[in-house]
Symmetry: C2
Subunit: 367 residues, 2 copies
Amino acid sequence: MSKKKYNFGAGPCILPDSVLNSASDAVKDYNRTGLSILEISHRSSEFEKIINECEDLVRELLKVPADYSILFLQGGASTQFSMVPMCLMQPHKGAVYLDTGYFSLKAIKEARMFGPVQVVASSKDRDYDYIPVGYHIPRGSAYFHCTSNNSIEGTEIFDFPETDVPIVCDMSSDIFSREINVADFGLIYAGAQKNMGPAGLTLVIVKKALLKGIQNLIPSMSDYRIYNDHNSMFNTPPLFSIYVAMLNLRRLKEMGGIKQAEETNIAKAKLLYDAIDSSECFYGLADKADRSRMNITFKMYNREREPEFLNFAESRGVVGIGGFGSVGGFRASLYNAMDMLGVEFLVQCMSDFIHKDLFKNFKLKQI
Amino acid sequence: MSKKKYNFGAGPCILPDSVLNSASDAVKDYNRTGLSILEISHRSSEFEKIINECEDLVRELLKVPADYSILFLQGGASTQFSMVPMCLMQPHKGAVYLDTGYFSLKAIKEARMFGPVQVVASSKDRDYDYIPVGYHIPRGSAYFHCTSNNSIEGTEIFDFPETDVPIVCDMSSDIFSREINVADFGLIYAGAQKNMGPAGLTLVIVKKALLKGIQNLIPSMSDYRIYNDHNSMFNTPPLFSIYVAMLNLRRLKEMGGIKQAEETNIAKAKLLYDAIDSSECFYGLADKADRSRMNITFKMYNREREPEFLNFAESRGVVGIGGFGSVGGFRASLYNAMDMLGVEFLVQCMSDFIHKDLFKNFKLKQI
């Protein structure tokens, strides 16, 4: 194997080595069945055990109450942007959205195809560098939609509104990174490729009462009830992604569960934000109170030197820290599988770059 | 590794050992990048090369003309059942369907949500054991939909109708198994998990002129134009499934392409059908002219002894030959990755079972 990279990419993201090793073995021979994990049937008892264990782990780790269903789908969060309104909007009941950036805007755009959408608040006025507060959610709305972690802008919602309206939350980039109270939500969805598993899998956690209220005529593959009624196997599910997600959640449990992961994530983010704040070279993009623990966005005061730092970091094996196109600068994603050592390495890299800089007049030619 | 099984399952199906070995290695370290194939970004140059090679291989192997787009989606054929009418039906133009069994019926059910559907012919009268002919496709229909291979009933369409109406074909279970003339079709779709790759990937080949004619307001993830405009990466695609499909198509090309695969598939199917026809124990379910080369369905004259044969076969490492629930009996799926040796092994197994049977009065206790 070549030298392992420090991958701070926003997703598909890194997974623990132990998970990758088990997944690699299973591609050759799953659990000594004589079959690859890629060729077992979704109707086999082997796969039934896998999907059931995956569901049990989601329920245990997130403490999902019994009146919530756990569903496995395909198509990523982008598919949920239309499935949510398709299923939950009603002719006489519009939906309410919070606009906190790139992905909320995408969700809003899709929802408008299905009925009235009210955007109750937006942080667009300041390039989405904060999470709006103090907005009012009209009673009787079909649902209130928000994006818990804004992976492009680097903000995260830590306080969800108190409301009788069902909260629908896109948790793609922070699910399993911190404790949440599932009972506060009507529906949670998440593309798997951050803290859960490989791309190609979407997790949905939905209150059963919401499913009962669905009245629309919906294509089967866009209807949560169909997944609920068929144990997520109305058709062939993405078996491998579910298997790897199961391995990853099994390991998360062994490592102490979400409480432990959250403590580590807080410490990791603090280390990097402290390094940014204390440097005279870098600055963070988001309001301090709303800073994401998952995606740390920052820039250099001297924007022209950013490509230089990117190259410097890459030469040391740090990859994936380029900021999203429309934002620029840097983005370091500190998902669960990124350990403290990786963050320390990045901080050291930043420090070395600054240090090198101080002496650049003397040393430039030797570098 | 434990003893390799002979897997005749209908899908997710077997893949060649060389493909599984490469896929297994890439899960640990993709191409010496220091990153797992599960953690590389879909925006990376590495993945761009993979998806482009996959597209090129589809185009080369199936001789896809330049005026057709090749798209990679998620959600399986079941998602196409609604995407096709959502995109291609028009208020004044209904669609025409051919009913050849379980999966055509599912497609018809979804299409009815979007507009008028005319079923021009059905083989339901004889439990779908043949492919109807001599039906009329009304001019001006939005499209004509058919299922080229009926994996549950064991029939396959070898002659497609001549019509000015765009033919939309579900080729999930026989694509890449035989030569086709893509120019005869308006749109071809296929879940990958038979002859192409692992579950979680759907291939769509669509005539560009059809895309230009789309007038409906469609959710982004259900709109072929969005996939076409974003090189199938509007959102995170199922990277691993695309990678394994690429490996598998690369191997198909090395092995002589589809022409060679088709010759082998004809020989494999003949071997098994001949064994069925010449036995006094088994009989085939489908009309001889319409017999599928991919899914061979058969039963025993003495239905009560079927579980005994299933056990007998399984004790020898033959798995996945139980027929679909509503059909019963047996189904042996002979996808590309099943080689002649595997089919010979199954035929030997049937012969031994019959032979054992002839002497059962003498030998029953020892078996």
